[in-house]
């Protein structure tokens, strides 16, 4: 039976920019008034040197409290935001249990100060300690820290650790290269470069990953670290990965496993057993903490005992009775971000691990790989869709990279057009591919373990419907969306300094200049 596509339509509030709203005199919140004795101290502004007093008040909106609430509620309703089906590849869209939101909103998390004495943080420290133990079990690593504010920040943390490790050995000037692959997430190359390393990027070969020979040719006494994803975001697992680690180790380099794509291999492999010195998990992807449109997030960084001395503080320890924060602020690499980490996200990840248990985590990777292969079976039947490296017949892991090259050649409809049209049916945009696009007109869904078979079937039905439209009436797709909060963005002017405006003040100024000009 063919799945029916829904008659979805987004809310259209035609909501003004908040700075266009309101009128002089309104206010959305009151500050507690000064007690009489404090009020009698005189004009508070006299306490500021005249050179540093604000002269004109900021031109912020003046609105009542319910007006502010309704404005932002309207904006939330003009956000599809995973209310339909979101299979955004590489981001592992999974359920974010609301009980964890409720618990972390309580005062014993929300109103805790990071500089409180460790004695008053026993609950947080216990959670950190327990989650660290769980991630050590999942990876085989010896220590974990949660300071990094996202996956890319954890990659940067590794680059800083690498710098410190070789500086301590007097080898940093010599070891100034980081080796990665063109399929590794861009953050690996970018964070290595920011930390001061030259980046050596290996191209893919016909099996979908760089060859061992290419790696051997790239690795030398200049190699500081390998930074690599596996499986990559095409669902391809490099079977030579353990030999890769040996090659890098033989030349004296470190190996970092970017586990952004952990969902398909949870409970199946452990980074340390493959020889890696360090790895990274994303608590906001794999471990059930919400994406939040781009953070707050946590890149949990784990490493071997040999690297542990370089970890950023503060570190949590347990003496069998009390939990302690050890921290002199200058140990290891210092900090990559202030404080212990995004504590609410750490709590949510811990809660997810407890709710799932070892068996549940293992099963989640089974189900995510099952769902991906189920999708692949059905998607490849749709006219215009092919997959990357079609000659590789082995089952992909939790993702498959597809191509709409044929559809584009036949109809002129691109992957971005299809993305724009699918949202008309309540389906969140799919992931295309990181730059550079190695596969033409790419798209990369990731089914994960959250969605039901019916959700996945609906997603497939929408894509099939849109591909059929592309052949029958390509204009409908190219001019999409038609049932969203607004129409398709006109990209002209976005990178023009005379037209771009990241603030309302810049916009008003440029509009006025355009009217006069």
């Amino acid at each position: 039976m063919k799945t029916r596509v829904r008659r979805y339509h987004a809310a259209v509030w035609d909501e003004p920019v908040v700075l266009e709203l309101g009128r002089p005199g309104s206010r959305g919140i009151e500050i507690p008034p000064l007690e009489p004795e404090l009020g009698e101290l005189g004009d508070a502004e006299e306490l500021v040197a005249p050179s540093m007093r604000r002269e004109a008040p900021p031109e912020l909106p003046e609105l009542s409290e319910p007006e502010v609430l309704r404005h932002y509620l309207h904006l939330s309703q003009e956000t599809l935001g995973m209310m339909g089906v979101s299979l955004f590849g590489t981001c592992t869209m999974k359920y974010n249990p609301r009980v964890n939101e409720a618990v972390t909103a309580e005062h014993f998390v929300a109103d805790v100060h990071p500089h409180q004495d460790g004695e008053t943080l026993q609950g947080v420290l216990e959670i950190v300690h327990r989650l660290e133990a769980a991630l050590c079990e999942l990876s085989g690593m010896d220590r974990f820290v949660f300071q990094a504010g996202g996956g890319a920040d954890a990659a940067y943390l590794h680059a800083c650790m690498t710098r410190a490790y070789f500086a301590a050995r007097g080898e940093l000037e010599q070891r100034n290269e980081v080796v990665t692959s063109i399929q590794a997430h861009p953050c690996n190359a970018a964070t290595a470069a920011t930390a001061g390393f030259n980046v050596v990027t290996l191209p893919l070969e016909e099996d979908g990953y760089p060859s061992l020979e290419a790696l051997r040719a790239a690795v030398s006494e200049r190699t500081a670290s390998l930074m690599i994803n596996n499986p990559d975001d095409m669902g391809i697992y490099n079977p030579d990965i353990a030999e890769w680690v040996d090659v890098v180790h033989e030349s004296g380099g470190l190996c970092f496993y970017d586990h952004a794509n952990f969902n398909g291999v949870m409970g199946k492999i452990r980074a340390r057993e493959l020889g890696f010195d360090a790895c990274m998990f994303m608590l906001h992807k794999t471990f059930g903490a919400p994406k939040a449109g781009g953070g707050p997030a946590v890149g949990a960084y784990g490493c071997s005992e040999a690297l542990a001395a370089y970890l950023p503080g503060p570190l949590v320890s347990f003496d069998g009775d009390r939990y302690r924060l050890s921290d002199d602020g200058r140990s290891g690499i210092g900090r990559v971000r202030e404080f212990l980490g995004n504590v609410p996200e750490i709590v949510k990840a811990y809660a997810w691990v407890r709710a799932m248990g070892g068996e549940g985590i293992d099963r989640a990777s089974d189900l995510s790989v099952l769902a991906n292969n189920y999708m692949e079976e059905k998607l490849l039947r749709i006219r215009g869709i092919s997959k990357s490296h079609p000659r590789l017949t082995a089952k992909r892991l939790e993702m498959t990279r597809y191509s709409l090259e044929q559809l584009a050649a036949d109809t002129g409809v691109t992957a971005v057009d299809v993305q724009n049209r699918m949202v008309d049916f309540g389906v969140d945009a799919f992931w295309l591919s990181h730059e550079p696009w190695l596969v033409p007109e790419p798209f990369t869904p990731e089914a994960g373990e959250m969605w039901s078979k019916e959700d996945i079937d609906y997603w497939i039905a929408v894509l099939e419907h849109v591909c059929e439209e592309a052949y029958a009436d390509p204009e409908v797709v190219k001019t999409a969306p038609h049932r969203q909060a607004v129409h398709q963005l006109d990209p002209r002017g976005l990178d023009d300094p005379d037209r771009w405006a990241t603030t309302w003040r810049a916009y008003r100024r440029k509009q006025a200049a355009a009217r006069e000009g």
Binding site: A297, N342, R354, L367, L397, A429, V486
Partner: protein, 472 residues
């Protein structure tokens, strides 16, 4: 390869977990066992035993009870009176902020398209627009991880803009923030290293020592970094002159500011800052043991600055429908997403949900709210400082010219800050942040933070408890 038995029990978080669903999907693929789907992974790579983790707590009630039990072992600033600041501050978070950021449409998704996630992009634009009004600056990026990270990015922007490799920083800088900044400036062995040169502060005022600044300014200085209020709470009354001196030396002026102060303190765009950075946490985000921190980067809307941003940012723009507006990401090509190692530093997940909390907060506050909260913090913190300074043996190091935070010295009591804070804790008070290790030149001193949440009764109670624990 091991053959594992797959439990048929459905789990509440996993839609495909019921056994009949698994069977139907396997049938569609034409394989018997899920393990066959892992054929790419060599057997020698496979974990040969089950994961050793605690058994699942599948019942939400059981999980909630467990989490509550463990986390209740924390003390909090709700059940204690707290005077901790130093990089994370207790301000009131309006209920409307919590309501909006807990909306599923904002909480759970990842990205979307400009049309499908129009509302969120608009909220981001309103974050940047309102922060721009507070700062008197026209170009604002989406937030970065923290104030320290924003400063690190800004230092690197300045180094690229000027082709110079040294940055002047205040000697009194927050050690936590400084540790972050040092990582962004790399080490001398590698390329793009930035040398950090501390500038002394005047012992009498706590303000930057302008003579020391003049001595250290030269034609190899990329930027002068000045915070106002400083980490030690002091308002830099000479900020306009500092910016002029920097400009005369061909250096960028990078301002570090706390936006909660900008209803009463001059905005950095008005006193000559080229780049402003700072925290977003005071604007409607809970402290959450440091999980609430966030940072911003802002400049004048000039192309030379815009082309150095490492962040994503949204611009208001047109749709293909005449007269309709939307919001799109600009300058994507210069990010690490667009150009890998050739991009400007790197970007990734950040604290974009907090940008929405910040937008709601600024809309609620409006011009009057920011004026009121600035005056309230000035009045309450100065009242507290005056009364604390009257205690025997206790001295407020710089009793005037500060905002929200001030240094309290207890050398005259014969006690250490550590001893006093332990005694206060027994009385359910968190005393100020101990500075005795990070700022030994200040002796036994603590940084006290007083905000709009502290009533006169709270401050009077602090004074009385302090009197008791420092005497006798």
């Amino acid at each position: 390869m091991t053959t594992r038995s797959i439990s048929g029990e459905a789990h509440p978080y996993m839609g495909t977990s019921p056994a009949p669903v698994v069977a139907a999907m396997l049938e569609e693929i034409g394989v018997e066992q899920i393990d066959e789907l892992f054929e790419q992974i060599p057997a020698s790579h496979r974990l040969s035993r089950p994961l050793e983790l605690p058994p699942p707590m599948r019942a939400e009630a059981e999980l909630r009870r467990h989490l509550t039990e463990v986390l209740s072992r924390n003390d909090s600033c709700a059940d204690h009176l707290s005077f901790l600041g130093a990089g994370c501050w207790q301000h009131y978070v309006p209920a409307v902020c919590d309501e909006i950021v807990s909306r599923s449409e904002f909480l759970t998704p990842v990205w979307g398209t400009p049309a499908s996630d129009h509302g969120r992009n608009q909220a981001w634009f309103e974050y940047a627009s309102q922060l721009g009004e507070l700062l008197a600056l026209d170009f604002v990026g989406l937030p970065v991880y923290s104030w320290g990270c924003a400063a690190g990015n800004a230092f690197r922007m300045a180094a690229r803009l000027t082709g110079r490799g040294r940055v002047l920083i205040p000697r009194g800088l927050d050690p936590e923030r400084a540790a972050v900044i040092r990582n962004y400036c790399a080490t001398p062995e590698v390329r793009n290293h930035i040398e950090l040169v501390p500038v002394a502060y005047d012992a009498g005022t706590g303000r930057l020592d302008l003579d020391d600044l003049r001595r250290k300014l030269s034609d190899d200085i990329a930027a002068v970094y000045v915070e106002t209020p400083s980490f030690l709470g002091v308002i830099e009354a000479d900020a306009p002159e500092i910016a002029q001196l920097a400009r005369a030396a061909g250096a960028e002026t990078i301002a570090g500011v706390d936006p909660i102060s900008l209803g009463v303190l001059a905005p950095p765009g008005d006193w000559g800052a080229d780049i402003a950075v700072g925290t977003t946490q005071p604007l409607g985000v809970h402290m959450s043991c440091g999980g609430g921190v966030g940072g911003f980067i802002a400049t004048r809307d000039e192309e030379r600055y815009a082309r150095e941003y490492p962040t994503l940012q949204v611009s208001i723009c047109d749709t293909i429908e005449p007269g309709e507006r939307t919001f799109g990401v600009i300058l994507f090509e210069q990010t690490s997403y667009g150009s890998r190692e050739n991009g400007k530093d790197w970007t990734g997940n950040s604290v974009y949900l907090w940008a929405i909390a910040n937008a709601v907060y600024m809309s609620l506050m409006g011009p009057q709210g920011f004026g009121d909260i600035g005056r309230a913090i000035l009045a309450r913190s100065h009242y507290a400082a005056r009364r604390i300074g009257e205690l025997p043996g206790v001295r407020v190091t710089w009793p005037g010219g500060f905002f929200k935070e001030f240094v309290v010295n207890v050398d005259g009591t014969g006690r250490t800050v550590g001893e006093i804070n332990r005694a206060l804790r027994r009385r359910r008070i968190f005393g100020g942040k101990d500075l005795s290790t990070s700022h030994p030149e200040l002796g036994q001193s603590a940084l006290y933070c007083v905000t709009e949440v502290h009533s006169q009764a709270d401050l009077d109670r602090l004074v009385e408890e302090l009197r008791e624990v420092t005497s006798g």
